[in-house]
Symmetry: D2
Subunit: 431 residues, 4 copies
């Protein structure tokens, strides 16, 4: 899924001073580069499925954003690094001209990785020069947007790379050393959340994507939310109870997927010597029962919930339930690149691990909030164009930069997508 950058509906936050923004720019840009640093040119060039892009493309496309939307209009003296990149690294179908087909991104041996890194240097230098000048609020807002856009692609670098490495029979690792410590089981309980007319959606001074607003009223009934995400162990129980063989548990589209794609377990699982293993960015590893399950589709999440006698929360329920949840968690910065157990206990009555570890599927399709207005201009051209046939996920994952997530953040994927770090948190009606 190409995530279109979405222009902030709110005014640029006053606190984002140019020098602070310049520091943030440097930090975000370096993070992308650091993610690629353990990789060979071949690792960065290969595309393993149409949905996933090569690391090289991500590195170039995020740079293209700053060149196209910031430097070209605002730096009269700016000289394009290579005019052909305008088409090669465009992911937009209309506003800024032609684009190279998504499914052919893996056919580009040229430009080489080294040239793409030089492109990044070229654009970064020009951007730092721009950031040293006084800039209009709209320009500052657009730079902020570009950085959030790049953070979205940082997550995709990891998930797309994981998919590519998984297709290699050698099961090669992105990084070898594994920072895991022993994981203790954790008891799951239900937490009651009071209903009524509530407000959800973004409002305020900070950055948000436009699909997070406007803030608006919804009515919800009382409900229970699970204190923790569903674990790998829970999912093994589901499998062993015939979960993938029982049509009555599945949506029609899910049962079709099970049968036509041969799903028997979450993505990346394989059985070796009778034990479930899963492919991780650190190589093949035994499935650890006491960590949140990941790489399940909406369809599997929904079947699991039915099996468990529960359901998925709506996105309004999730957002309201997250009010007291701690914001810190296992994000990209932990370097685990895999869900972990909780390191610190959460107080009773407070949901744990809502942020980080795994994106949590909700029962809500990804549609426009009441009063949603697409933003103007090329950057915002396609704000709502993905609002069909996808479902909302919340809370960020172990591949999400921690400064990128919010309680109002709406991620979305088709119901059969499994290559993101997507998991499950259960809900149920209050009884």
């Amino acid at each position: 899924m190409d995530r279109s950058p979405r222009i902030a509906t709110a005014a640029p936050q006053p606190s984002a001073s140019p020098s602070a923004l310049a520091r943030r720019f440097e930090e975000v840009r370096l993070t992308s580069r650091a993610l690629a640093s353990p990789l060979s040119p071949e690792d960065c060039a290969i595309q393993s499925m149409p949905d996933a892009s090569p690391t090289k493309w991500h590195l170039a496309h995020t740079t293209w954003f700053f060149e196209t939307f910031l430097l070209a209009p605002n730096q009269p003296s700016y000289k394009a690094f290579d005019p052909a990149f305008k088409v090669l690294f465009n992911s937009y179908y209309n506003g800024v001209g032609d684009k190279h087909p998504r499914s052919e991104r893996g056919l580009l041996s040229r430009p080489a990785l080294s040239e793409v890194l030089a492109y990044r240097d070229h654009v970064d230098a020009a951007m730092q020069a721009l950031l040293a000048e006084p800039l209009a609020p709209e320009v500052l807002a657009l730079i902020t947007l570009g950085l959030h856009h790049e953070q979205q692609h940082q997550e995709l670098i990891l998930t797309d790379l994981k998919h590519m490495l998984s297709r290699n029979p050698l099961r090669p690792a992105y990084q070898k050393q594994w920072p895991l410590t022993a994981v203790e089981p954790r008891k799951r309980s239900w937490i009651r959340i009071a209903g009524g007319v509530k407000e959800i959606g973004f409002e305020g001074d900070g950055f948000s994507f436009d699909n997070e607003g406007p803030r608006h009223r919804v009515f919800i009934e009382d409900f229970d939310i699970a204190s923790n995400p569903v674990t790998h162990g829970d999912f093994i129980d589901f499998i062993e109870d015939g979960g993938y063989q029982r049509p009555e548990l599945w949506l029609s589209m899910g049962w079709d997927a099970v049968n036509t794609r041969g799903w028997e377990a979450p993505m990346y699982w394989e059985k070796r010597d009778g034990q479930w293993h899963t492919f991780t960015l650190r190589g093949l590893a035994p499935v650890e029962r006491n960590t949140p399950v990941c790489h399940v589709s909406f369809l599997e999440a929904e079947a699991f919930a039915r099996w468990a006698g529960a359901r998925l929360p709506t996105e309004a329920e999730w957002e309201i339930a997250s009010a007291t949840a701690p914001r810190d968690g296992n994000f990209l910065e932990s370097g685990a690149y895999h869900p972990l157990a909780l390191r610190d206990a959460t107080p009773a009555g407070v949901p744990a691990q809502m942020f980080g570890d795994v994106w949590e599927w909700t029962r809500s399709d990804y549609g426009p909030y009441p009063g949603f207005e697409p933003a103007a201009g090329a950057v915002g051209e396609y704000n709502g164009k993905f609002m069909c046939g996808q479902y909302v996920l919340r809370g960020g994952s172990c591949a999400t930069p921690s400064s990128h997530i919010r309680d109002t953040y709406r991620n979305f994927f088709p119901p059969d997508a499994r290559w993101q770090f997507s998991g499950v948190r259960l809900a149920r009606d209050a009884r």
Copy 2:
């Protein structure tokens, strides 16, 4: 789409006396047969796409329902007409055994149409004998359900047949004589509907499908609903304004459909001598500007609304707006099998043509209402299994039996489906 029958969540209505039900049984069963009466054996046997079933299959499958769910369990002396039909005419994947693949329904030259009609006679006679006995409320409820199930298939007989005839270069007609009179233009206006905490969904004594309940509270803001559906003339304006060539109007999935399927107009339209014509069940006819547009997908409806500076209503908005709308309209019984103009004016401030003529796409995906509980048993086995990736349509069409529709009725199809009589009614936020 195979529509699974859904068991009534309410108790069977007391007014449905056995003799009244017997009369209704006869009437509904005769209607199906009447729909097939102008057709040849070949017309009834052919399947023109996997989504559409042959008339012969519809006639047999609806009969299979009564044989399987009513006669087999409740008539100990009942002898199956042909045991092989149990598999051939089953559309359920699990609860009642094997089924013949949906996409191969058009490969069955045997049983012949005449045998299927004999099958209907055999089952009808047994059912009338059953209806003459005292029956438990659950049995009466199940018969009522079977009749609503058959009415769903009556609509599909017409839409599937239309698709099949349309694939014939001769453009043959189902019925020749055309009951249309001259059609006058009608002015469209906006009607303001007040928001707040409202209730929607079915509750009460009559029949409903279980997806219509439970009745529950929702919060909506004030909004405007269009007084009339979008017309064929409006859609010609959209086409002539480049509607099918402008990506900014379309959802991403819609733009893909436009390009990969070559959509340039609603389904069944073709240009002859510079004028738009459309294929109808009465043959090819010039497009009549002043009637509601039909055979548009959700994706086209959504693009049209964006072009018109409006949006689709949610299903809650539609249901609330329909409170004052007249229930009569152009249904199956009119014999037009095509949308017509209003015959009688609707008072100012009251939406016109909400019922009949065309199903109206809403912006709501088809999901479970809060508190939705799947019904028990084989008949209700799959109540929610289609609740993924489809959008809700409301109000019935010119192919819907008038006694089949309700204001709470939720029809649903994938966003790219066009072969139903599906149209558009606009809404907008109150300003």
Copy 3:
């Protein structure tokens, strides 16, 4: 495969007097009709795969041939039965205008079977009037060609119908009564054929398709030909020896077919209660070991030959070996519609069953003979256009009219085709 009629390279045979031709016309035309007489309108309308056409289409297309190539140019007063049929029943892509897509022949419920039969009557009457007049030799030749063309389609009526009936889980029969008597095993031996410079191909006064000529010299080495075709029993032995599981026996294209299509036995075979059965035009029947195997592809024939330590004959070898073979055999007229055992013994040293029962795959691709010249005009337009990627079969089958076959007759199908009555005769190098 649409078989294009091919114009006779030889002059029309003098013996074909107008009155004899009129009798032959009546006879051939009645045979087609007789083949359809046990069938319902639905049986005649359905298309079960793109390669196979509905019986109704065969009945109409063969009629279209006479209307288009004989009546339209030679009968000034002739009035077309229905001008639309010109497109609907054309199988040629160019010379005579538009055609209806081959894969959509099963979508035509109209014209009804009864109308097609009326079309036949209309054209037959006009043809008999034409045949009563003095006709130019070219016209007589073209009528003869039309009759051979119709005989080709008679075979296809049976093979295409068989495929369609086989897709019905009821396994319905075309005709019930089975004319088989007990079948005795027959010993297979090798017959030595002397090589040298030989002549093959058609030359003479009678009718032939143009791909059978010109007669020309070839050089072949001495070789052995099998006295009998491979039997069903032989093929069971191959299966039980792991024939379908051993890649070393197969051509690369064959092994792909085995794996991607799940081939485990010849087409139409299924195991019931541990015994192999095969679907026949008389319903499902146990496989009879002592009759020639049929419904095998070139790829299976080739693998079988390798397993048997032999090879397929070339088409030159086949034609030369057939010199002494008896021409009578189990053809369409026997009414068996399935290979039978020999009723009369063939003398030692004379190959048996070369004609009738099953088409025999040769190792020769279907290409032009040296000096082959495409005939002129629309009828002969496509004489050579199928000469790529297909293999030659010889000898006719139980679905071939006996007056249609010759020792020079070249049938051809792609190497994976199995729905014809195609079998195997082995050859080997002389040692």
Copy 4:
């Protein structure tokens, strides 16, 4: 197409002394490496279609051959470089165990190019040690085979790389400098070749693939062969005469390809500013009229011949006509990697450019010669498995090593293949 190595049917030639073989080993192995030397790791890793393999795979697979068939059985002390390579770089489906799917060769970022080059060093050192020992004739024959196998892959490195680079909108060059000089037109004439009983096929002491034998007698009639291949200019004339729009010129399979794939010119052609250009390994270049056309399929060659009033030669005709033709030509060693004009005139009555420049399609399908016997053992396991559905090409191309070609050499590709340097030489019947 994976070309299976084929074991020499003849004994190893006496002249191939161990030290000469060691020198040849070094030379061939260095050539492969030299072909890869201008390429980046990304260039070597990407697979642009299932038929084409990455350069890295070719480098590794040819090395795997020596490791698997020479070192493993003959060097007891040999230690595999990496046991996983046994599966990764196997292209055989059976005899030597599992293999990695052909279409997924482009998913392997690991092993890196540098590791594959180290693998080559490792195996080369062990092979040189082996070559220093006294070796059995069968071992020497197998080494010779491995070198011819590697030469086949040298050609594929260039053709597969060309395809990959062509998919990049930058149209990048493999090598920039272009060694072309001005090209003069050359008159084409017909050369009469006498027919009769002739012998073709390999026989003798040198190396050959087993599909080239046994030498055997054929009968051919007198015929004419063109003095030169069809040129790019001839093909422009064909295009401008509507060659790609006239169904009567095409085989049925060819006309399908034209329509479903949108063929309008040979592969790699594109029109820029009204002039035909073609993509070469030296970048995009204007089409040079006076050089042999390349990148045409059998289907296009056949249509062109029909348009020209001629035909393709059979492979027997080609081999017999080549008797007097000079063996030198524009091979891999020229460094042109594109067809060139003749540098030296050929005497009148002697066909020019039969060897080198472009492979020439024949009208002969690729089948077994009379008496063909598959060789024994794993190396020869699949000798005949490609003998179905492909056509023979003769003479080598500008990407073929000059020491690799023979007059009896049979190359083969499916009739729609275009990414090899394949061209056309016309023939006609003697009149």
